[in-house]
């Protein structure tokens, strides 16, 4: 058997303890910013049993009035990333121009976008179950300067 030296054992014990302390601190006081030791907060927010659920999407309008979906495939930006930075977009809608740029980069031949908006579709929920109904709300929109 290949055994550890005392030093090897002590170093490993110390590293394990340090990692656990960082992870526990991250869990109770940290945030996503502390990656990889942040809290495991996937699906951790609580939603009341009757609160509608948001389904966020980004869409653009071309100069000819066509509405295009600006999902991850179209821009390379993930939906959760739009949601994660939604406050930034709301404070400064001109940031949405970056999404138009990301779209143009991937679709050089497509019509230019004249408007970009972040739309939340609110799905109804009753007693923890979807009702099937929904309403759309435009939370941020930006018009391209002409």
């Amino acid at each position: 058997m290949e055994t550890l030296t005392t030093r090897g054992r002590v170093t490993r014990l110390g590293a394990t303890a340090l990692g656990l302390v960082l992870l526990l601190a991250g869990t109770f006081w940290g945030s996503d910013d502390d990656f990889p030791f942040g809290p495991f907060r996937m699906y951790s927010t609580s939603n009341p049993p009757n609160a509608p659920a948001p389904d966020t999407r980004v869409e653009g309008v071309t100069s000819s009035g066509v509405v295009v979906d600006l999902g991850q495939d179209a821009t390379g930006i993930r939906r959760a990333e739009i949601e994660g930075q939604q406050d930034r977009y709301a404070a400064d809608p001109a940031l949405l121009a970056e999404i138009a740029d990301a779209y143009a980069e991937r679709h050089p031949d497509a019509d230019a976008l004249v408007e970009i908006r972040i739309v939340i579709r609110w799905h109804g929920i009753r007693a923890g179950r979807p009702t099937g109904g929904h309403t759309d709300e435009t939370v941020v929109s930006w018009q391209a300067p002409r």
């Binding site: 058997m1 290949e2 055994t3 550890l4 090897g8 054992r9 490993r12 014990l13 590293a15 394990t16 990692g19 656990l20 992870l23 526990l24 869990t27 109770f28 996503d32 910013d33 502390d34 990656f35 990889p36 942040g38 809290p39 495991f40 907060r41 996937m42 699906y43 951790s44 927010t45 609580s46 939603n47 009341p48 049993p49 009757n50 609160a51 659920a53 948001p54 389904d55 991850q72 821009t75 390379g76 930006i77 993930r78 959760a80 990333e81 739009i82 949601e83 994660g84 930075q85 940031l95 970056e98 740029d101 990301a102 980069e105 799905h123 929920i125 007693a127 923890g128 179950r129 979807p130």
Partner: protein
């Protein structure tokens, strides 16, 4: 505690785990999280580096930088999967993958599915050399597997506390699953959502399973494997309903399994008819120690098997000291 933390495992298990993890890193680059490469076309304005990215002087990703990291990480991960130069290649892959993840997570969304994988990458370089099929036991390797296991279980256990912290007790009776199904549910999930109270019961079930997950370390080996099987089945359900794969976590969780039994190269060679057929070609191991003389020379020489001398030493060793808490060693490779 120190004994448990460094409980020895066969080197063959380390070799197999290494191959699994580094192949996963390569697969992650091209299959599981290929969107990281698309950061190239996402404007730098949207890059909001994480704490670790601000502490380390990492540059805002440019197309050239992302391309260099992608290709070097892919090449080095594939090389590391062979088990050669475990320290040099292991540390290089660890550093590059961390940088890759900092890029991936710095655009407004952090994923929580890869703590176990990152720990595995950080400890594998310390596990020393290991060849496939080698039954010599190693404490350094045992520690690497153990801390990966702990990281995997922490991902469950501490998630329950994160739910308490961010969602409170209301999480249990809330509509988090209904919300997840609306946002990314499959047809199967839509069907399940119709059943009254089922989603709320599932929410209680999830927290109970997360809180009880550390029990896996207290179970006898067979039950432990069964519980790990249950963990995997939980993820099968989440994939089938809300399309959340947690793939890196699933790769790290193989640290619980007696991976040394899985010998695809050996089986392939056997199927190709190189070596005697049937039981005569099975690798002798601890279970057959007294009856099976060394037959290694007949077939499958090379990197796959330990030298006979080594094997003999180990067999005595394995007989004297059972593996205790780590997954049991089984005498011969399972398979065709």
């Amino acid at each position: 505690m120190s004994r448990w933390l460094t409980e020895a495992v066969p080197r063959g298990r380390i070799a197999a785990f290494r191959t699994v993890i580094y192949l996963f890193v390569a697969a992650d680059l091209v299959i599981f999280t290929p969107w990281v490469r698309t950061r190239v076309s996402v404007p730098g304005e949207l890059y909001q580096p994480l704490l670790v990215g601000r502490v380390l002087p990492l540059p805002t990703p440019t197309p050239a930088l992302v391309a260099v990291i992608f290709w070097s990480l892919l090449l080095l991960a594939l090389l590391a999967a062979t088990g050669r130069a475990p320290r040099l290649l292991g540390w290089a892959v660890c550093a590059l993958y961390l940088q890759w993840m900092i890029i991936a997570m710095s655009y407004g969304k952090v994923d929580h599915d890869r703590f176990g994988l990152l720990i595995a990458l950080a400890v594998l370089p310390t596990a020393g050399r290991a060849r496939h099929g080698d039954t010599t036991r190693t404490e350094a390797g045992g520690w690497a597997l153990r801390v990966t296991q702990i990281a995997v279980i922490c991902t469950y256990f501490l998630a329950a506390f994160a739910k308490l912290r961010f969602g409170g007790l209301d999480w249990l009776t809330g509509s988090v699953l209904a919300r997840a199904i609306i946002r990314r549910g499959t047809d199967l999930a839509d069907l399940i959502a119709q059943v009254p109270y089922l989603l709320i019961i599932a929410q209680f079930g999830i927290v109970a399973f997360e809180l009880f997950s550390p029990v896996v370390f207290l179970l006898p080996p067979r039950w432990r494997l069964a519980m790990v099987g249950f963990f995997y089945s939980f993820h099968v359900v989440t994939i089938a309903t809300i399309t959340i794969s947690f793939a890196p976590h699933l790769a790290a969780m193989t640290s619980f399994l007696p991976l040394e039994r899985v010998r695809p190269m050996l089986w392939a060679r056997r199927l190709l008819g190189r070596g005697p057929a049937g039981t005569a070609s099975e690798t002798p191991g601890p279970a057959h120690a007294d009856t099976a003389p060394v037959r290694l020379g007949d077939h499958a020489t090379g990197a796959d098997l330990a030298p006979p001398g080594d094997e003999a030493v180990v067999r005595a060793d394995a007989d004297l000291a059972p593996l205790g808490d780590q997954a049991p060693v089984v005498g011969r490779p399972a398979g065709p």
